[in-house]
Symmetry: C2
């Protein structure tokens, strides 16, 4: 998917919402457990209930891998379902991969060729040659970790170098030379929205994928205020707040309700 297509969808739906499919067999409604593939049935119902309000879906690969081959099958069915029934949505494999060049190429094949996601999240620790192989795939995107929303992000991401640059700022500066705003986005957590000002000084145009709104305490209003450029270049993720809004038979309706609440607030800013 191109940047233009993504922005058009955001404007059309008046939404920057990404729904995180952290689908956990121990948390989904119990009445689904009798079906052949409960995780896929759950995802399908969530997608059908929310796609009017969401522009992106982000399966978190860990939850699928934890179930072995059956989980990988659920992941494959989910991405195929999205591509066949909702080709307008942007798809993110939240996989946080990254390795030496020939290995990153294999990961890129896994998520771009074999599974046909639009994008994959990548960890920057191993540097240029671990990220660039992902950028060689046409119309595909890297979403590079910059400043994450967890407490541990402070351990290394905020370390200040001799030139006064924090590590996450260096990651932004250095990596923005590897790709462009047309194939490279960044993960920037919402838990401290004022940090978005520092991020935007370095990467003005790039899309940011922002987790941490809602359950983790980030404010949507502040994220937009500090993080959005002239174009609506944000994808704002909510996972648990939407997909586990209800544990009952009304889980899909409640997910739609929560997605709608977020979308309606987003519409004020687009």
């Amino acid at each position: 998917m191109t940047r233009h297509e993504l922005i058009s969808q955001i404007r059309k739906k008046k939404s920057m919402l990404c729904v995180g499919l952290d689908s956990d067999i121990s948390k989904i409604p119990t009445h689904l457990l009798d079906t052949e593939d409960p995780i896929f049935e759950f995802n399908k119902a969530i997608i059908e209930a929310t796609h009017e309000y969401a522009v992106a879906y982000k399966p978190n690969t860990a939850f699928y891998e934890a179930m072995g081959i059956k989980g990988w099958q659920s992941l494959e069915k989910t991405i195929n379902y999205l591509n066949e029934n909702h080709p307008e949505v942007f798809t993110i494999a939240d996989a946080k991969r990254g390795d030496i060049g020939n290995t990153s190429t294999q990961y890129a094949k896994a998520f771009f060729d074999s599974l046909n996601f639009d994008s994959v999240t990548v960890a920057p620790y191993m540097g240029a040659d671990s990220v660039k192989p992902f950028l060689e795939f046409k119309s595909k995107w890297v979403i590079l970790l910059a400043l994450t929303s967890n407490a541990g992000s402070a351990d290394f991401q905020n370390v200040v170098g001799q030139d006064e640059t924090k590590l996450f700022e260096r990651v932004l500066e250095t990596s923005s030379q590897w790709g462009t705003a047309d194939n490279l986005m960044y993960v920037v957590g919402a838990t401290r929205a004022d940090r978005l000002v520092d991020v935007r000084k370095i990467v003005k145009d790039h899309f940011l994928l922002v987790p941490g709104v809602g359950a983790q305490g980030g404010s949507l209003q502040e994220v937009v205020k500090y993080g959005m450029g002239e174009e609506p270049n944000l994808l704002i993720n909510s996972s648990r707040g939407i997909i586990y809004a209800s544990a009952g038979k009304d889980f899909a309706e409640e997910a739609a309700e929560q997605a709608k609440v977020l979308q309606q607030e987003m519409a004020l800013y687009i």
Copy 2:
């Protein structure tokens, strides 16, 4: 597997060799392509030919994921084969995972419960709460990226902080508080063996997993000189140099020969 068991095996086999199973369908001998699961057949033959000389096996998950469900099946069959037929060897899922706490727990379940590997490689960028969930599994190990062997490692791992500490040194210092030498190892590349001196100032006892010997130019003698402690606390990896030693029907014999050459040099130091 415990540290004691691993060291006993190293002393018994007089080997610190880890064989990297970067098994690529486009590189394995063509006569295997007619079998039902060529990657598994290849791995099985490599394991049978080399286990006398090797103490560890390290499937690189990217190569399996690139093949979708079929690849995940090959990975599962390979780890099951190792656990059933060669329970003495140490197994490494080279997956370079790491995410927020609840997600890292899912990855740990994937590799420790579902697949029953002894260890998994983990990326440090997201900090303490992304690594600790892996350390909560009994008799399982985290192998944390510290200083990798690729050119891109210089982009961030060598960045010097205001206290003169390089990022990889900070990763070693900080993370060594999260686990112990009984459940935490580090990836330290061999391409500049003198760096092992700096590493050993910080983590004296921890096992190091050392890639980059052979094809990537590192010297085994220097790795041992600068990296080995009083105990043989090194795992030295070779992937392509062993598994692709021959592309013909003699691939397993040639792999054994290459593994034996490395083991015999290692025996001089153990």
